[in-house]
Symmetry: C2
């Protein structure tokens, strides 16, 4: 898609801006560490089929999604070689749409209800989702073999197991992160043996090089990064900011037009380089720049959490470098947003 | 717009659900307190022209918006009698679109740059936005007369002043809220005298009956309410929830499909009746229900902050009462989302 303007400084704001140099470096670094099918990139982090295409170009053609819409969008974009809905779903309309979509779809199951819904609505293949100490989805380890049997009895191909060590991925201390991951994967490996199948799917950006037990890693955030993952000392750099315009300046603070409706706020305030962020309102960000700002200036706002930030925006603008002086070279729709089929 | 299903319990989730009984009561209560032009409803809270139409039917035909898109959307929907952009804008393309739109548009100005941008791009009328102790936009009180003169010199109609006591609207103690409001409005009234014009625009849901100095109140949240405003003892009740489906149950917690991409999180976790919310992930909400849940059950999730919650959703479903047993009677697009013109 052709961008409307050619300079980051001319974008109507707030606007997502991707530094293509940093993005390419992140994608290449991860591909070197986890080549081909060792990585099953999670599209929930960017919700963008064009970005997924860059991941596929680097050899990762199996993808992870968190919603039926993400899976369907990927299949319709021709990226449906091997799609995993790493989430539980009992909506018959959505499951039927996944079963009928132009791609190979596997869904996670962790209960009788999710197995039965998958089987009743034409799904071919499942992974048994096992709780590995994150208090969220996943069956009890002891229940996994029974669920696998129930699935096979209903005609489903049980391709293996998954288990997300989400409680570990953001732990700052690497040794502690490694220990939590090892404990989680020990449990998952034990279950995998009893369940059967080839796949042990797990992991995230924070454990991509620590989780050696899984056959595939579901990392997503590494591509664009964010404030929280930035604290872990990983070899990935921040690649996505929000361009904002300064709309008010006084001698004590300044205000930019990037607020709560442009930012995922669950991990707290965003950051601005050479400035302190005070607070965000619906359409405003109040901050104190270390150098005086002027009304009309552009600033880059770095979100604390990428995933829910991207989900607020229609598109991301591709820039040929960092900073507001870069040129806009392309525009990618954030086309996997929302929940509609 | 016709809803796809007729029962809240049949909606694909997550889905915004409005209790029309509570909404009508909220709208009527506010209209009785602030009839006609005493209220200038703020559409940023709901971003929905159909809801604005309900406010207009009750006699409030002057509206407030926070973005050019909100103002343009209102004008195009035939709700452009008197629209106030209660925000600073220096984007020439957006200002020109406001100047050319089929409605009467007034914009806030608080600096030379915003006055000059308004005048240069065909805007007819402005309010001088005065800082009334919230650290955000608004000029210094002493600077307001000079800005008004500059605006009049550039051919702009200076209709009066605005000043938002946003630091007061959510203060729990009513007496303290009243005192902060009085102090802010004392400053604004003093400036209004020097600036001239008929309008003193201020206020919000939390100060709607305390701010007697303003000629018009910019309240928006009162229509749908949310967790934070719900703590103030106002005569408005919560009218918007998110219907979610339980996708996982075990003997210690349950998980519903309403996460960070369906919820404004700046005010913290949402609530579920008869349950404790533990945490939210991108597409999950982990909670402990007081009564056992089953996979497939529907629950209503009450957001802590309405405005950034609504901004994640394409539409709101209108229900004929509270609870998941209600019927869906209509569907309203959230058509003022985003920032595109």
């Amino acid at each position: 898609m052709l961008p409307r303007v050619t300079a980051v400084a001319d974008l109507s704001t707030p606007a997502l801006v991707v530094d293509t140099t940093a993005l390419a470096r992140n994608l290449d670094t991860m591909s070197a560490a986890l080549p081909g099918a060792r990585l099953r990139p999670h599209v929930k982090a960017h919700k963008c089929t064009e970005l997924a295409r860059e991941q596929a170009r680097r050899g990762h053609t199996h993808f992870t999604g968190a919603t039926p819409r993400e899976i369907l969008g990927m299949a319709r974009a021709g990226l449906g070689d091997d799609l995993l809905l790493a989430n539980e779903c009992v909506d018959p309309v959505r499951l039927r749409a996944l079963a009928d979509c132009p791609g190979r779809v596997t869904v996670a199951v962790d209960s009788d209800a999710t197995v039965d819904a998958a089987a009743a609505n034409g799904i071919d293949a499942v992974l048994v989702d096992v709780n590995v100490f994150l208090p969220r989805c996943g069956c009890a380890p002891d229940d996994a073999p029974r669920l696998a049997e129930r699935a096979r009895g209903a005609g489903l191909d049980v391709r293996g197991v998954m288990g997300y060590e989400g409680h570990a991925v953001l732990v700052p201390d690497r040794a502690e992160r490694a220990a939590l991951t090892a404990k989680a994967m020990e449990r998952l490996a034990r279950v995998a043996e009893k369940v059967g199948g080839d796949i042990v799917s797990a992991g995230g950006t924070g454990t991509y090089d620590l989780n050696t037990a899984a056959t595939e890693i579901q990392a997503g955030s590494y591509a664009l990064m964010d404030g929280d993952y930035g604290k872990l000392g990983l070899p990935f750099t921040r690649a996505l900011a929000i361009a904002a315009t300064v709309v008010h300046v006084n001698d004590r603070w300044s205000v930019a037009d990037c607020g709560l409706k442009a930012l995922g706020m669950d991990h707290g305030n965003p950051a601005i380089d050479d400035a302190d962020v005070l607070f965000c309102s619906d359409e405003h960000l109040t901050f104190t720049p270390h150098q005086p700002a002027r009304v009309g200036d552009r600033v880059l706002v770095w979100p604390a959490h990428i995933d829910p930030t991207v989900a607020y925006h229609d598109r991301m603008h591709l820039a040929d470098g960092p900073g507001v002086g870069a040129h806009v070279v392309d525009m990618w729709p954030v086309d996997l947003r929302g929940w509609d089929l």
